[in-house]
């Protein structure tokens, strides 16, 4: 665990001494803040429910994260490969799985910081009505689980590329495909059902409405585990390729 934390703190330091963390947090908070103010003002004008504001906000935030997580993960391995430091990392006395988990934890920590900033929005709603703590808990749990999938997929893509841009674009592409296959959820047929089951969006819908469904939690956790395992194998393969 100490080794994982060591990699994690090193990565977090790298995030915060470079402009990348500030840039991502700045754009994410500006964008989600703008959306929140629009949703809150419009709902208040129509005498709508506070839960509608939160549900819409959670749906929008998950979609925004789809664009930001590839930026957070693109450099994690691609940069190490490009600068040649990957050899140092792989020959150091820590295992590949420790490296992968350390980097994953660092990205998740940064993402949690980003999400913590958005707790300001439910507090603002309190001035104009009551808030549903259950809905907030479920919404944030969904955001954390879906981000975990995005980050693990981004790590996998970064481990397979030397170029940061290629890593970011490929992870964005795969995430986007796995997001939009959800449009098949209303279609008939077993293939459509399988594809819609793979969709990030379909599994997230219930979280944003305050419902925690076991199969959605299992899907997100298993997806993260498979991606992290594949990342470890991808790093291992660079030793004999």
């Amino acid at each position: 665990m100490k080794k994982i934390l060591a990699v994690c703190s090193k990565e977090l330091y790298t995030y915060f001494v470079s402009p990348i963390a500030y840039f991502v947090c700045f754009v994410f908070s500006a964008l989600s803040g703008f959306l929140f103010s629009v949703i809150l003002i419009l709902t208040s004008q129509r005498s709508g429910l506070s839960s509608i504001v939160l549900q819409t906000l959670f749906s929008q935030m998950a979609f925004i994260l789809l664009f930001f997580t590839p930026v957070l993960t693109m450099k994690l391995f691609a940069e190490e490969r490009k600068s040649g430091t990957i050899e140092l990392l792989l020959t150091s006395p820590i295992s590949d799985s420790h490296v992968v988990l350390g980097k994953y934890l660092a990205s998740m920590t940064l993402l949690l910081i980003m999400l913590t900033l958005t707790l300001l929005y439910p507090i603002l709603i309190l001035f104009f009505g009551i808030i549903d703590i259950g809905l907030i808990f479920s919404g944030y749990l969904g955001l954390i689980l879906i981000s975990s999938c995005f980050i693990s997929l981004g790590l996998l893509m970064s481990s397979m590329s030397r170029n940061q841009i290629v890593a970011a674009l490929s992870s964005f592409g795969v995430i986007l495909i796995l997001w939009i296959v959800g449009i098949l959820s209303n279609s008939e047929g077993s293939i459509a059902k399988i594809l819609s089951y793979l969709s990030f969006h379909v599994h997230y819908t219930e979280f944003s409405r305050g419902i925690i469904v076991l199969k959605d939690v299992v899907y997100y956790l298993s997806f993260t585990c498979v991606c992290l395992f594949a990342t470890v194998k991808s790093i291992e393969s660079s030793k004999w390729r």
């Binding site: 500030y22 803040g33 506070s50 549903d132 076991l214 199969k215 393969s237």
Partner: protein
């Protein structure tokens, strides 16, 4: 040899393209092209392997291949385990928890108990157009019912497309949900767990409520052959499982105990003191009354002064006047004039808000301040026009004919004029007793609008009134509230309206405050590192 080297990539490429097309054919269910392309893929792939046999042999025996195979097998293994867990959980352990405060997406313990004891199949047919905004909400609600009982079958029908089913259940309102147990069915026009569970309860317990129409004072009868009878209303009420009867209080000592709703539909003669006392007693004992009262046209004095006084006690002021609206009116072919009234949004009127319904010769019926603390009195019908264009005329000639001088300030009641009200007795004292529901009254200043004469008209602009009366009876009899669902009221979640300053503060805090703080933090780190910090 050289030819093989040149041709092998070509065959490999063809094999790849053909396999993509084969997969596409599989998705499109086009089986002949699927077979052809599968065959071509296999042949070209075979040729490719034949041409590259030496390279492939070297590859398969290399160290890299063995390591690669090892990775591939372990990856397939972990993906297989993940798939297995997902299939098991989604197929067999489909558990979910609604952790919202208002439990928007789950059903109450009372509903679950009723569904648990269900011993007959109930088909639920939801008549919703695709564009109906409540469609998804009702779908979620009904899915929650299905999760609790396998005896609930749900079908969604578009009332414009599934004509046979629409006609079978006589659906007139988009957004109607029918609960059918085979021999009986119940229609619900609101999306609400309480109404849904009540419908199921009525089907399984075979509950029938009784509606009594008062007779003996020239009221509109429910039988007979006159065009001014209420036979269509009777038919409509029977369709929704009410038992409809006539009642003459002249022969009775009290309103019957089994009377769920008493209807007084346009009496032409006064109701005597004895009868009024019986009605008063009935209302005090949590009775339900629908009073449809026409203006007193032929005499200056109100022939229904007794009823007017009784209603005054229940917070309803019935004017001795005639309501006029010079802008929103309707002329019938025989010359009589109907008013197009405004339906104020309520459970009773929700499906008629955009309807044009002509009410013929109305009197004003408005909330009064009597017993304000114990009664909730609301207007549900009023004229559409404002002061000067609509009013309640009070000036008359000696023979009772109303003046045609137009609106007279200080004498006439200015528009918009209330024509229909509902009264609900404070229910805090009674709610603990589940057998009794508190008094409810609906008073409308016209009775002719629901007669067969209106139904008989061939004008397509005139809608059917029977469902409107049926909605009133439903509300009066607590028809959709036979059980009280223990759920918090989501209305407390409604946001307060913001003023301009509050909107600006929200925008500044959410759009600018956080990003600026992050930007400043970034600048500080950059400056610190520039100064040589680590």
């Amino acid at each position: 040899m050289k030819g093989k080297e040149l041709l092998s990539p070509f065959f490999g490429f063809i094999a790849l393209i053909c396999s993509f097309v084969t997969i596409a054919c599989l998705f499109l269910n086009t089986w002949l092209p699927f077979g052809i392309f599968l065959l071509i893929s296999l042949i070209t792939f075979g040729i490719f392997i034949r041409f590259r046999s030496i390279e492939l042999k070297n590859l398969f025996t290399s160290r890299q291949f063995r390591y690669g195979l090892n990775v591939a097998v372990s990856l397939i293994g972990i993906i297989g385990i993940a798939l297995f867990i997902n299939i098991i959980v989604s197929q067999n352990i489909d558990k979910s928890i609604d952790i919202t405060k208002f439990r928007h997406y789950s059903i109450s313990a009372q509903s679950k108990q009723i569904l648990k004891n269900l011993d007959q199949e109930i088909n639920v047919i939801a008549f919703f157009k695709d564009t109906n905004p409540e469609r998804s909400l009702v779908q979620e609600q009904l899915e929650a019912y299905q999760r609790e009982s396998k005896l609930i079958n749900v079908v969604f029908n578009n009332p414009e497309l599934q004509i046979a089913s629409t006609e079978k259940y006589d659906i007139r309102i988009d957004g109607t949900t029918v609960f059918d147990s085979g021999d009986r069915f119940e229609k619900v026009t609101i999306v609400n767990e309480q109404a849904f569970t009540t419908a199921i309860l009525k089907l399984i317990q075979d509950l029938t409520q009784k509606v009594y129409f008062l007779t003996g004072h020239g009221e509109h009868g429910i039988d007979g052959s006159s065009n001014f009878r209420y036979s269509q209303v009777k038919t409509e009420l029977e369709k929704v499982n009410y038992s409809v009867h006539q009642l003459s209080l002249l022969k009775e000592t009290r309103v019957p105990d089994d009377c769920d709703v008493l209807v007084i539909a346009g009496p032409k003669n006064p109701i005597n003191t004895q009868e009024l006392r019986m009605i008063d007693r009935y209302l005090k004992n949590n009775g339900k009354l629908l009073l449809l009262l026409d203006p007193s046209i032929k005499s200056v004095d109100d022939i229904h002064s007794g009823l007017v006084k009784l209603m005054q006690k229940w917070g309803v002021k019935i004017g001795n006047d005639l309501v006029i609206d010079r802008q929103h009116f309707y002329v019938f072919s025989e010359g009589s004039i109907g008013l197009n009234l405004n339906f104020i949004y309520h459970e009773i009127t929700q499906h008629y808000v955009n309807e044009t319904i002509p009410f013929i010769y109305c009197r004003s019926v408005s909330p009064s301040d009597e017993n304000k603390d114990k009664l909730s009195v609301k207007t549900i019908l009023q004229t559409k026009s404002a002061v000067g264009i609509s009013w309640a005329e009070t000036e008359r000639d000696q023979d009772g004919t109303f003046s045609s001088n137009g609106f007279t300030p200080n004498t006439d009641l200015p528009g918009p004029v209330s024509v229909g009200v509902l009264v609900e007795k404070d229910n805090t004292e009674i709610r603990s007793d589940t057998e009794t529901t508190p008094t409810r009254i609906v008073v409308i200043g016209d009775s002719d609008f629901a007669t067969d004469a209106i139904f008989a008209t061939d004008n397509p602009d005139v809608p059917a009134y029977a469902p409107f009366i049926s909605s009133i009876i439903n509300w009066l009899s607590y028809d959709e509230e036979l059980i009280v669902v223990d759920k918090p009221n989501p209305k407390s979640e409604i946001l307060r309206m913001m003023n301009d300053n509050q909107e600006r503060v929200v925008q500044v805090i959410s759009v600018f405050l956080l990003p600026i703080l992050i930007f400043i933090a970034g600048l500080v780190v950059w400056w610190y590192r520039r100064e040589g910090g680590t």
